[in-house]
């Protein structure tokens, strides 16, 4: 496999892993704030819920990057995934802000 193919595979894998890490952080934040046992579990396992979210997101990122890099990939263009990663972070931010506003004003 040529170096350019490896580079494309690695970058796409990392971008997809980044998207999943962002989706995970967003989802677990919303769920843990609405389902107390999950937040309690994070605190008990990782000392603090925020540390747990970061640690699991990091582990997920490393694992997904590695797995996707090893698997065959059809696409030869990493740029779409870079855009998708940026959009995922924007969407995650909007979801989190909306959730905390709704929670603060008891809309939920």
């Amino acid at each position: 496999m040529n170096p350019r193919t490896n580079a494309t595979k690695l970058l796409r894998s990392a971008a997809i892993a980044g998207i999943l890490a962002i989706v995970f952080v967003t989802a677990i934040t919303v769920i843990a704030d609405t389902y107390t046992p999950l937040k309690d579990w994070l605190k008990a396992t990782f000392f603090h819920h925020w540390l747990g979210k970061g640690d699991i997101a990091l582990a997920l990122f490393v694992a997904v990057t590695t797995i996707l890099y090893v698997l065959p990939q059809k696409s030869t263009d990493p740029t779409r995934m870079l855009h998708a990663l940026a959009y995922a972070s924007i969407l995650g931010t909007i979801v989190l802000i909306a959730f905390f506003v709704a929670e603060a004003y008891h809309i939920l």
Binding site: A7, W50, L82, T93
Partner: protein
């Protein structure tokens, strides 16, 4: 390390990361981007966000919850914590991943980035998004600091 030193370090190193991210975005817009400049600025951004994460974690986990959060919630601006701190602390977790992928793109495609417009535009968009999220996080921090007083 005192908590004051930790929060100051968190802010300063975080700002370095945001400035470096903006530099990456600007660097991709040049007619002939300097690959060395892009590598250094993207690496600086990534390392800075990691360090800011570490300093912030020390302050947040060991001090903020017990000593600062109750003051804000009992004060005139409880939404500074309920909305802005809560959003900030979680959006912040996005930054190291965004910065790492940006740095990876620059490193892996350093021979192409000057001539590949699609790639340059993608790196610009990712870096600019990271920068704007960093600005949101910084302004939220300013709000929270004000609410404590």
């Amino acid at each position: 390390m005192t908590f004051t030193v930790a929060v100051i370090a968190h802010v300063i190193v975080g700002l370095v990361g945001i400035i470096a991210t903006y530099a990456v975005a600007l660097g991709t817009r040049k007619k002939t981007p300097s690959v060395v400049f892009l590598i250094w600025t993207s690496a600086t951004a990534f390392v800075s966000f990691i360090l800011s994460w570490a300093f912030g974690a020390y302050y947040y986990v060991l001090n903020y919850g017990a000593n600062v959060k109750p003051v804000i919630l009992a004060g005139k601006y409880p939404w500074a914590h309920s909305i802005f701190m809560e959003a900030k602390e979680h959006v912040f977790l996005f930054l190291p991943f965004l910065a790492f992928v940006t740095m990876l793109a620059v490193l892996l495609f350093r021979e192409n980035i000057a001539t590949d417009d699609r790639l340059r535009n993608s790196v610009f968009f990712l870096a600019m998004t990271t920068f704007l999220l960093g600005v949101f996080i910084t302004l939220s921090g300013v709000l929270i600091s004000g609410a404590v007083r």
